[in-house]
Symmetry: C2
Subunit: 143 residues, 2 copies
DNA sequence: TTACGACTGTTGTATATACAAATATAGTTA
DNA sequence: TAACTATATTTGTATATACAACAGTCGTAA
């Protein structure tokens, strides 16, 4: 039991690293990184509405205080814009630019191409089971 | 289908990060880190037999060229020893010291205490299913 | 034996990350 | 309004990581 447990979480950790590493390699060829990709996706998902640093942070896999610096890079590439929130000057309104959306499309295509063969390994039922079990694993801790 | 797929791998990645982050926090209280902990466990598993840098690397979650530096730290703490392999002077024979074993025991206890509640979330059958599905997910790529 | 390529480990360096401290604004209460 | 506390983001800095270059050793074949 304990043995199976450790093997399982080891697999979860390794698989997570493996996927992000591989995706990172894909992204690198287009001159970007996984964190930057995540920020772009978060902004796109907001559908034009401005997003704050805090909101981006919540969506990030690795919690950290580096959203500012990641956004800095995206701004320098013209993929993202940042301005003070007019209703609360502490906050920043971050939005994705047209150029950013076009670039994101390219990234998505590349990432999809990598994921395609993986997707074929599991059918819909298996995927749902997998997702359900992972969520259950950390169910006490969904703070 | 595609939606479910992305949600699932997102959960895998997040859960992996979440566990390592939490374990890292536990380890930090004892003045060490997850990579150092992994090296110690690898050495203990070798059961006295010396282990090379390459062999440690193979067991590491994050492949990298930093095993040397991690081992340096462990040596400076007296937890590990390193000497030239007598039969092949390119290789290094790395072993865990008595002090290292004692320290590892403490670490294991702390990590176990963290994992205990997680373990109770899934029964043996569920764990096995989870492990099986994760392995299946990357089955084409088990290079 | 020597020359060459392959293997093993180490080191240099640029970048990324974690953590704490700093800055600035907003809300709250005496 | 003044003082405090909470919120939001940025910045400083130490550490960790990735990647490439390096150095030493081995195996092998001319």
């Amino acid at each position: 039991m304990k043995e199976t447990f450790y093997q399982t979480i080891y697999q979860i950790i390794c698989t997570g690293h493996w996927i992000t590493d591989r995706v990172n390699q894909e992204l690198k060829e287009l001159g970007t990184t996984e964190p930057q990709y995540n920020v772009l996706r978060t902004l796109k998902a907001a559908n034009g509405k401005p997003v704050t640093v805090q909101q981006i942070l919540d969506k990030m896999v690795q919690r950290s205080s580096n959203v500012t610096r990641i956004v800095d890079k995206l701004i320098s590439k013209g993929l993202v814009e940042r301005k003070e929130c007019p209703t609360n000057r502490r906050k920043m309104d971050i939005t994705i630019t047209k150029q950013g959306l076009i670039f994101l499309q390219k990234l998505d295509k590349k990432v999809d191409a990598f994921n395609q063969p993986l997707m074929e390994n599991l059918n819909e039922t298996e995927l749902k089971t997998l997702k359900k079990l992972i969520l259950k694993l950390k169910s006490n801790h969904n703070e």
